[in-house]
């Protein structure tokens, strides 16, 4: 059996399915439902077995077309930075508010992707987010919580 990344993913999926199946068996159902033809854990149990079946098949059957990924050509650094910026965005949005965090998220993303046209970067972050907020909040009536804008009296 040729070990490649697809096989490793299949193995991980096999382990995940086994864990899912174990957790499915642990689901607490009502006592009167325990012996019913169908209860809250019936479908997940079947799913767990189906997951084991397909990932098991993928593990043991030969790969028709082995996928080769050239890791050297992949841009891991910028991708990781974007993910970190998105995580920081998620961590700060409730405390600082939508307007500032989103604007800084956009500005930071443009910067880390290599953009250096400052005026365009500014226009496509702060005024752009303000216009988008107006569309959501003012036109479509979708509520946006923003402690910062509330503090300076822009939002009610």
């Amino acid at each position: 059996m040729n070990i490649n990344t697809t096989k490793i993913i299949s193995l991980l999926f096999f382990i995940f399915s086994a864990f899912y199946l174990y957790t499915a068996y642990q689901i607490q159902v009502f006592a009167f439902d325990e012996n019913a033809p169908f209860n809250a854990k019936t479908f997940p149990i079947y799913l767990g077995y189906v997951g084991l079946f397909f990932s098991g098949l993928k593990l043991i059957l030969p790969d028709p077309e082995s996928i080769k990924v050239e890791h050297k050509t992949l841009e891991y650094k910028k991708t990781a930075i974007l993910i970190i910026i998105a995580i920081i965005y998620g961590a700060t949005i409730l405390k600082i508010g939508y307007f500032l965090t989103t604007s800084f998220f956009l500005f930071g993303s443009y910067y880390f992707l290599g953009e250096r046209r400052w005026i365009l970067m500014f226009l496509l972050s702060f005024p752009f987010v303000a216009a988008f907020m107006y569309l959501l909040h003012g036109v479509l009536d979708i509520y946006l919580r923003d402690p910062f804008l509330k503090l300076i009296g822009v939002m009610g």
């Binding site: 990344t5 697809t6 993913i9 399915s17 899912y20 957790t23 689901i27 009502f30 439902d33 019913a36 033809p37 169908f38 209860n39 809250a40 854990k41 019936t42 479908f43 997940p44 799913l47 189906v50 997951g51 397909f54 990932s55 098949l57 993928k58 059957l61 030969p62 790969d63 028709p64 996928i67 990924v69 050509t73 992949l74 841009e75 991708t79 974007l82 993910i83 998105a86 995580i87 965005y89 998620g90 961590a91 949005i93 409730l94 939508y98 989103t102 998220f105 956009l106 993303s109 443009y110 992707l113 290599g114 953009e115 365009l120 496509l124 959501l136 009536d141 979708i142 946006l144 919580r145």
Partner: protein, 499 residues
Amino acid sequence: MIEGILIGLSTALTLQNIFMVMIGCFFGTIIGMLPGLGPMTAIALMIPITYGFDPATGLILMAGVYYGAVFGGSTSSILLNAPGVPGTVATSFDGYPMAQQGKAGKALAIAAWSSFAGGTFSAIYLLFLAPSLSKVSLSFRSPDYFALMILGLTAIAAFSSKGQFLKAMMMVVLGLMLASVGQDSLSDITRFTFDNMNLTDGISFVLVVMATFAMSEALTIILKRNDPTAAAKQVSLTELGSIKIDKEDRKKMYKTIPRSSVIGFLIGVLPGAGATIASFLAYGMERNLVNDDEKQKFGKGSVNGLSAPETANNAACSGSFVPMLTLGIPGSGTTAVMLGALLGFGVQPGPRLYMTNPEIFWSIIMSMYIGMVILLILNLPLIPYIARILAVPKNYLIPLILFFSITGIYVMSFNNFDIYLMIGIAVIATFLRLYDFPMPPLILAFVLGGLMEENLRRSLLLSNGSWEFLWDRTLTLCILLTTVFIVIWHIYKTFKKKN
């Protein structure tokens, strides 16, 4: 039916809905022209906005995005040989050679008229077929629905996996597993939440779509150093030439369009198949039907060779609405996203939709005609200008896609746990995409998960826990046998390919 058509027309022809079709077609054309970003991404990005409207308007907007994206995809196929969406690959076979001969404008006009005619014919078929099929599907019972859902999931895995059926089936299972998180619909018992209150209501459909499509596509573009906007930059510089179609070419199209629209529509109706298969089949069929002189021109700029796939892919788009509107089972990844959005509106698509919500049912069908006209009169002359808008550097495009994805989730829950969950799923999806694990089967499974469990529950309770319901009815048995055939056939093909 006349009454329904009038209801549909009165809904679709409101100023707001016409505007939505225009926005949808325009936005869809833009996204469709970018190789790598397909209609599912475009629709996913639109979902949070649609929740500000009523269901009919929301769905009209999404449908506009869908056929706009297919139209946009053919533009980059013809001008650059870089199909924006898989459904327009066959368009490039004759569209690109025609553009190279200095007839880019004519090729675009043939594509636009063929798309228009294919979409219009298909909408007519839909108009007549959907209500009849709805009546037939009223006789379907839970076991039939359960079997049909298994068939739909297996078929989409078979068609979208590029020969990697088992990978697609693993994605189906993963989608169903994700759908099982949260409270059980009947007993309210929580499952797979690990005592996290944020998971009690389950994982949001919009979150999964945004993560697996919009966000993961943006990350994949950065990771693979692709530049989808490069294509648009070239389109904006291309000299289009005349968009006139001469009499002889029109004659050829008169024959091609009706037959290609029929095949496109029928393929679109089948669960799992879609615009890609429809366009290839129509291209192949057309090549067999034309005379020997015309056959020689295929691949070198044939009018029939361009018109057939363009007609078929648009007809398939309308056809894919049939299973969604009449059975409540989406036939493709794109209609699965729409179904999920409809469920979010509290509307249950299915055989009763045209009785309970006639304005939604008929207005979607009617809006298709309007959409096709808009694509023809608005987008064709505007292609170079749209391309100029698109020629923004990817350094701006990617953050904006991430921004729309995260905002879409945030405005729905105001909860940063959902943002983290979306980032986590997007990272896993990006990694899986690198190894060709397809995402549409995951989305379809996620959407159908709840319905599938519900129908299995009913079937098992009615049969007192016995699995005989699978072969008690001929219809259920036939559907299941088809599913078994697809599974065995694909596993056999895997063996045969290796040997």
